[in-house]
Amino acid sequence: MSILVLADLHEGQLAGATAHVIAAAQQIGGDIDVLVAGEGVQAAAEAAAKLDGVSKVRVADNAVYAHQLAEPMGALLVELAGDYTHVLASASTTGKNVLPRLAALKDVSQLSDVIAVDSADTFKRPIYAGNAIATVKSDDVLKVITVRSTGFDAVGEGNSAPVEAVDVVVENSQSSFVKEELAASDRPELGGAKVVISGGRGMGNGENFKLLDGIADKLGAAIGASRAAVDAGFVPNDMQVGQTGKIVAPDLYIAVGISGAIQHLAGMKDSKVIVAINKDDEAPIFQVADYGLVGDLFEILPELESKL
């Protein structure tokens, strides 16, 4: 078995998800190469070389891979995939954008959001918003897989794998980068945070999300949101937790003013401890919460902040 892991980047730096994908690759077994593709990504490549389990890092550093646009990234993977039995990426918006292209061009299926490895060809993945878990077996010659980070503990960093350049350069005249508006935040990344506090429609408006800030500061938490809060414009889209947003599984998840629709639960129900704060004592969120506090969030949040 030989596995290629496409590294996930965030603003040119190695994203935390990659260490989880490598853990999934270790369970499959075999040599694990990591592909770091982008522009100005030497630092990311060096960070990847430190991750345990990595045999070698391959770096494609070229302007054509800047922002990891789907067309050149797919073409690059097709060039490299011949050396491998498995190609893995994180189920991030980049992994989901690029990997299906590789699969289609190789005429194989893609397995999305894998949460467990049963063997080199059999995997578990959630379907129907996580309300069922499917075990699927792939007889394709090349397995193309996106990995859900929360399913695998990250590998450690004690390695110094060799780093080598990939000189494959592809053409791209079809798509071009225009701009990016990235939310700047000093808080931990939603996907990797130990504590997440999320607000829903009950927060009332964007200004009120400040009520979560002080608590998040004290707990070192990331801040998330329900779809309703994002749709209403309270907070940006990258904060959405759920079936079609981010999947989180922190040690502690605090849902504030969130009713607990199945699509929201799909993104957080694997958290270790769930706290729900809601004024409606029948809200479905209480069915999954370890600790429920019924009441008005506008009274509870300031009290919680001062007592923590």
């Binding site: 965030h10 646009l69 789907a70 067309e71 918006t93 980049t94 989901k96 954008n97 990997l99 299906p100 292209r101 699969a103 289609a104 005429d107 194989v108 299926s109 893609q110 397995l111 999305s112 059999t122 379907i127 129907y128 918003a129 996580g130 309300n131 069922a132 878990i133 499917a134 075990t135 699927v136 394709d140 005249s173 798509s175 071009s176 980068f177 990016e180 508006e181 990235l182 939310a183 996907g191 707990l219 749709d231 940006p236 889209n237 990258d238 079936q243 079609t244 040690d251 502690l252 129900k269 769930i274 706290v275 209480f286 370890d290 600790y291 429920g292 509870i300 009290e303 919680l304 007592k307």
Partner: protein, 249 residues
Amino acid sequence: MKVLVAVKRVIDYNVKIRVKADHSDVDLTNVKMAMNPFCEIAVEEAVRLKEKGVATEVVAVTVGPKAAQEQLRTALALGADRAIHIETDERAESLAVAKLLAKVVEEEQPGLVVLGKQAIDTDNNQTGQMLAALTGLPQGTFASEVAVDGEKVHVTREIDGGLQTIALTLPAIVTTDLRLNEPRYAKLPDIMKAKKKPLDVKTPADYGVEVASKVSLLKVESPAERKGGVKVASVDELIDKLKNEAKVL
């Protein structure tokens, strides 16, 4: 410009699913079915492009059993001009659907193809990307804004860190995210009119595409149930439980 929209028949998003007792699959007997919510957004976007005079014709296509014609009729009621049903009772996975859609693209030569980003049954999130790869057309996935501008389309994408805007040469493939638009409801007169709009029925064999995939479904299980916990009476009690019982503070 012609716009092609792909719609999928799926379980209604409000329905709580059940796993079959023999663990062979999810039980869909007598379950309410509907158009995949992301496909509703796709249809809406196509219809708005027509209303703005950017699109001249909207063609809806689905791959699925006979009953999937209901979702095509919904698309027609929402404003699509005609529909193509590629009928199969086999489980059509994303790759097979993408291959079939690629044939339809070849035949219809649309300027834009709009798909949902994800079907809420399989949660695959792949068909649009696969279609783009197979047709050699550029892709703008997870779109929250689509602006056609001459020979190009600008697509704003919902990515993990925020928003990204890219420019694609037309023809292009777009997949919809939740914030792209708010789909309208079909009005009764439009539902009546939709019954008379053209709907072509084809089979995968007509396009020379094999639907079977090399991925087999071995087992479907319910996830580990989470037990509801306790209600606490005060903030003090909550903090105490989190510190001393759950030990997460």
